[in-house]
């Protein structure tokens, strides 16, 4: 068991927390040698809509790490001040949620502060502003990257526990644990992989829609191949989610069983 996790850790360290942007052809190259025809077909379909992929390390934090980078990069490129203000308000709401749940402030405040610092720094025009190279550098620096991942874990856990009645049936489908046990054992510890429950909770808590594109070996009965995706749309009325109309997610992640990477549309 210990040996297994040691091997996994060693493998994971071969790629940085957040990789470079690569053309989508690099994904196809991965499956060239003896790959399944279904996968290659699906990648072909993907390449009609998506231009590039950015890989993240498979250390169990890949969903949160992908979300971190994709979100901050979006703000850096769009300079959307209104979005920053909106998300800040939601972050403050998450802070109050954790306080109400009885988390001592000092256990989470450093993680909140570090995320807000990153959020502020991707907005240009101040002394603290950073470039996209610097964003990549910080995302690879454990002392920043892991703190932001942990911030998301706190936010996710708070949201699940706040709306435990809503999340309970989904959690029961995954494990026999109670909502609180689930948060303690599968959300808050670093390296615990994310599931639908985590993504839904984070998307709802921050009011940020997320598109997840699924790439696996499945195909339809009649042999036709298509690529499915699911949009996580923040529930209306929960926090400041900007209304219930169909939103176009600006964060797209590629899911392959057990792992998330970032996708870039054309």
């Amino acid at each position: 068991m210990q040996q297994q996790s040691a091997i996994q850790a060693e493998e994971a360290e071969k790629i940085p927390f957040v990789g470079d942007k690569e053309p989508l052809s690099s994904l196809a190259a991965e499956y060239k040698a003896g790959g399944s025809p279904v996968l290659l077909e699906k990648i072909k379909i993907l390449s009609e809509q998506y231009a590039a992929i950015r890989r993240t390390r498979g250390d169990g934090n890949c969903f949160f790490r992908s979300f971190m980078f994709a979100y901050l990069e979006h703000i850096l490129e769009s300079q959307d001040r209104a979005e920053v203000d909106r998300v800040r308000a939601n972050v403050e709401e998450c802070r109050r949620t954790l306080q109400k749940l009885g988390y001592p402030e000092f256990t989470f405040e450093d993680f909140f502060a570090l995320f807000l610092e990153q959020l502020e720094s991707v907005i240009q025009g101040s002394e603290a502003s950073i470039s996209d190279e610097e964003l990549v550098k910080r995302s690879r620096d454990q002392s920043v990257s892991d703190y932001v991942v942990m911030f998301f874990r706190f936010v996710t856990s708070g949201e699940i526990r706040k709306r435990s009645e809503f999340f309970e049936p989904f959690i029961l489908g995954l494990t026999s644990a109670s909502v609180e046990q689930f948060c303690k054992s599968a959300v808050e510890p670093m390296g615990e992989e994310s599931d639908h429950v985590h993504i839904t909770a984070l998307s709802d808590a921050l009011g940020v829609p997320i598109r997840v594109v699924y790439l696996d070996r499945s195909s339809c009965d009649n042999g036709s191949v298509s690529v499915n995706h699911h949009d996580f749309t923040p529930v209306a009325g929960n926090n400041n989610s900007g209304g219930s109309e169909a939103v176009n997610p600006f964060i797209t992640l590629l899911y392959r069983p057990g792992h998330y990477d970032i996708l870039y549309p054309k």
Partner: protein, 156 residues
């Protein structure tokens, strides 16, 4: 390093405030090194450990609180999840299930809970694990007759 120091300092202040509210735990920071702590915890009532005071040693890594503190018993204790010689503790939150939501204080509370409710499935002290199976019950939950046995085992 800076982050762990700042966090530990906050915990230090919190511990000063909590002293009154939790009489079972006395957590003290080393005078010259904020990464070294010791704790005195009271054995939980209605267990073989009732009436005893147990000393724990904390060694906090530089990546704290992303990584858990290392904790071991300095006081000899006969418990299925504690290594009898080294005092090493088998407790999930000190390993894979650790998260920064835990504090040194709440770790002490978790260790007290482990003393009262051992996990026979992850023994570090096999004799104690066997003892509990042989007796067909969870150690620590039956007070008097068992207690003598524990005492015998403790003083060979």
């Amino acid at each position: 390093m800076q982050a762990s120091r700042a966090r530990l300092f906050k915990e230090y202040k919190e511990v000063q405030r909590e002293k009154v509210t939790d009489p079972d735990i006395q957590l003290v920071c080393d005078d010259s090194n904020i990464f070294k702590w010791t704790a005195l915890i009271k054995g939980p009532s209605e267990t073989p450990f009732e009436g005893g005071v147990f000393q724990l040693a904390f060694s906090v890594p530089e990546q704290y609180p992303l990584q858990p503190p290392q904790v071991r018993f300095l006081t000899k204790i006969f418990h299925p999840n504690v290594h009898f010689k080294t005092g090493e503790i088998c407790l999930d939150i000190l390993k894979n299930a650790w998260s920064p939501a835990w504090t040194l204080q709440s770790v002490c509370r978790a260790i007290i809970a482990l003393m009262a409710h051992p996990e026979p499935d992850s023994p570090l002290n096999c004799d104690s694990g066997v003892t509990s199976q042989w007796q067909g019950c969870t150690p620590g939950l039956q007070p008097c007759p068992r207690r003598d046995k524990f005492h015998n085992l403790l003083s060979p």
